[in-house]
């Protein structure tokens, strides 16, 4: 599906959604990964987990007459959401036990940096006046069977976010397996980074702009 232009956030979200196996139990991190929910088809049977204690979370609440906003029903980003038939609620202790216990099939997280070996940095810039906040990111990174990252490949200043080793404080070590970006998709892990797909750039251009060795799919 290589294309001639970089992907929009929505196109990235659609691509992630297509790669989530039907019937998976999935946690979508706050921020961009939340968009993936808009691209999951009803027939996919994907069940969304939210860390604040719910399975089979429905779409955002619109606040309309048939869909009033309920302040007791929010997602991890504290935005009002809805129930789907078959939803369940549980405590935070249970929510994270199911995460750590390996019961979630996939989580999709945003990132500041990912290393070619699959290390993730997404919770703290490490700057002196930055207020650190980790939430459930470290628990998700070690708990889900598969960890997908969704991010732009380059920071606003042009520096690559797929790196030989993360310079920001780590969230988890060697746990990311796919990185979905606006210009390429990568497999990462113990054998390094492999380019699975490109959008608006060539393999050679990527190899020149990134500091990590890039394999092509065999």
């Amino acid at each position: 599906m290589s294309g001639g232009t970089a992907l929009t956030k929505d196109e990235m979200a659609a691509m992630v959604a297509r790669d989530i196996p039907p019937g998976s139990y999935v946690n979508l991190g706050i921020g961009q990964p939340t968009l993936v929910a808009d691209h999951l088809t009803a027939g996919s049977g994907v069940v969304l987990h939210t860390e604040n204690g719910m399975l089979n979370m429905g779409p955002a609440a619109t606040g309309g007459p048939d869909d009033p906003v309920d302040r007791d029903l929010t997602n991890a980003g504290k935005q009002p959401v809805t129930e789907l038939p078959g939803s369940s609620y549980f405590s935070s202790a249970d929510s994270f036990a199911m995460m750590r216990g390996g019961h979630l099939d996939v989580c999709v997280l945003g990132a500041f940096q990912v290393s070619a070996g699959g290390d993730l940095a997404n919770w703290h810039t490490g700057e002196p006046d930055a207020i650190p906040a980790v939430g459930g990111a470290m628990d998700l990174a070690i708990g889900a069977k598969r960890v997908f990252v969704m991010m732009t490949l380059f920071a606003k200043d042009g520096t690559p976010k797929l790196v030989p080793s993360c310079t920001y404080p780590l969230t988890g070590v060697g746990r990311v397996d796919r990185v979905y970006t606006d210009v390429a998709v990568f497999q990462v892990g113990p054998s390094g980074a492999t380019v699975l797909d490109t959008f608006g750039v060539s393999y050679d251009e990527l190899a020149e702009r990134l500091d990590v060795p890039l394999a092509r799919p065999s």
Binding site: D70, F96, R100, V134, M138
Partner: protein, 219 residues
Amino acid sequence: MSAAFCDSAAEAVAGVEDGSTVLVGGFGMAGMPVQLIDALIDQGAGDLTVVSNNAGNGDSGLAALLAKGRVRKVICSFPRQHDSWVFDRLYRDGKIELELVPQGNLAERMRAAGAGIGAFYCPTGVGTPLADGKETREIGGRTYLLEYPIRGDVALICAHRADRMGNLVYRRTARNFGPVMATAATTVVAQVTEVVDTGELDPEAVVTPSIYVDRVVVA
């Protein structure tokens, strides 16, 4: 002993001492016991350690307690939010201490306190700055960190309904930290929307059994 039913939030939070560790339920504002926190502000206890998922939103609830200068230390997972200006200012001015704990460890450390577990090995945070100074152990080829319980002197939680014994049910995602905090403090205070007669809650649906609950107030 069954839970005591209080006529006011002030009565429900009476006796909280300076220097106490206070577990405060809620994920953002969902499940936050705002009336109990307001009563605690009036009660006047200070030098508190607050354990909560966030460090206050806007200007009410936990943020109001922080703004009054009553909190020495916050133990939480996610202080930085778009509306956490009260905490942000105190932190940047060096007026509040922060212990940052991954959210699952926050829950599990309180679960351990409530379940009589001395400590536990957990894989969350291995290889990150939050592992600094923690004992590690290889078990079955995987590395774990040793984590210790968090116990409260007082827990302030928000449930939906109580019966006259103090059994509690919650509402939707406002449940969050309530059930685990109810197990982990010496004195557990629940604010509820409604009290029903004993026998009217389905025993199969009770989430927090009355044994954990000391005081209930309708708020």
